[in-house]
Symmetry: C2
Subunit: 256 residues, 2 copies
């Protein structure tokens, strides 16, 4: 006698709070709510989502913790300006990348940020990585090679490779970049997985990153990581079919 399909979009497996967080987060990122107007009042929104107010309030608190909304009495729950959002948060980044996978601005910013952070992480890994952490990098590279035929496993190994480099850097701040990087790579691979022949092409650069870090060659590790990223960028930019690739590299929005 249970209703198999509730009238709302909440059907994911985890908990109701997590589902509501996902629904609201995606809506906000997608711009479904007017930037000026506040969200519907708690009672209405809870009813429209078919959950109790407790669930909605806990979900709003999660979004507030991520810097996306601010709830105040009498004024309601308002969406904060996008600069306040915590783009280092795994979920926030994933919502962005799902909403607009090839949005030129964000894609360029992400590639830029990776180019800033990851080569330095590789350098630090070569300098300071413990043997075990270094070995983890080599292991993930090995999985990339052996799993070349299985896209699923290869992607997992590739993500693990980049995370392992961050971990080996020994820098807690860079390590904190790992969840965001996981979201980035997950989204990127969803784009480029349809072209499996691209994957092996980036293996040599990955191998050199691993070897340089294992050998304790900081400058070499940094340079090799830059080459890994350059390969990824050209691949992604090729795939950003909609617009002119030059636009992705050169164009800049102007903040007021």
């Amino acid at each position: 006698m249970a209703e198999p399909a509730p009238p709302t979009a909440l059907h994911m497996g985890k908990g109701k709070v997590a589902s509501v967080v996902a629904v609201l987060g995606e809506r906000i990122v997608a711009g479904d709510y007017a930037p000026d107007a506040p969200l519907p009042v708690e009672a209405d929104l809870a009813q429209s989502l078919d959950v109790g107010r407790s669930v909605l309030r806990e979900a709003v608190k999660v979004l507030a913790a991520k810097g996306m909304v601010l709830a105040r009495p009498r004024v309601g729950t308002v969406i904060l300006p996008r600069e306040e959002w915590n783009l280092f948060d795994h979920d926030v980044l994933l919502w962005h990348l799902r909403a607009m996978p090839l949005q030129p601005d964000l894609l360029r910013d992400i590639l830029e940020a990776r180019r800033i952070i990851e080569p330095e992480a590789a350098l630090l890994a070569a300098l300071n990585g413990s043997p075990a952490r270094k070995q983890a990098i080599a292991d993930h590279y090995h999985d990339m090679v052996t799993g070349a035929r299985d896209p699923e496993a290869a992607v997992k190994a590739d993500i693990g490779f980049h995370i392992a480099v961050l971990m080996a850097s020994g820098n807690a701040i860079l390590i904190a970049f790992a969840p965001a990087l996981t979201a980035i790579l997950t989204a990127f691979f969803k784009i480029s997985i349809q072209k499996p022949e691209m994957f092996p092409g980036n293996l040599p650069a990955h191998e050199e990153v691993s070897q340089r870090i294992l050998a304790g060659d900081p400058a070499g590790a940094r340079a090799a990581m830059l080459r890994v990223l350059a390969y990824t960028e050209t691949d992604l930019l090729d795939r950003a079919a909609a617009g002119d690739p030059d636009e992705l590299l050169q164009t800049r929005r102007n903040y007021p």
Copy 2:
């Protein structure tokens, strides 16, 4: 007839949820809870904090959104390993810096991360900053000079300066670093504010950052920002009295 002082530590001004988040966050960061054992059950913890279960649950959800805890039925609310915590979060970082202002590991990691990110942000600001965003940098530098006598205003201007550089970079990911940087600078100034003669010493380097960015000189802006950070680092390391400064620069913990 109202009790003026509740039997708990919740006396801050905002809301009860924010207070509970702060109390629990600081306790967790300080290691007050056993790493293996879960937190007390909701009912007990809520009672011991003198709040309702709703408030406690919303607070726990906030901490979960920051990656610090994970609540599961039957097993309780457990503290996640420190690598999972979102160190880019303003609050998490502030709790760390308040709990152990001069913890060598984290201090070194923060300085390292700033040296990686901020010079590149200055470079991008010189390249891509809009005139208005560039002018904001110059304005904040101006406030640093004029407010040199008022430590309060000078600190605010200094923080604003570094944030303005991030903003002018035009990179959304780097801009998302702003809340964390605010927490970092706030904590750092609480350490070094007792030595006001240090502040003017770093003004020339700040001025050059501003000028190079205004002039559209990327390499110069990056180099100048590096000098700003170098000055800050020597100042902080001098102040890290407890340990040998060399230790701060050279020593590395080994991750297993």
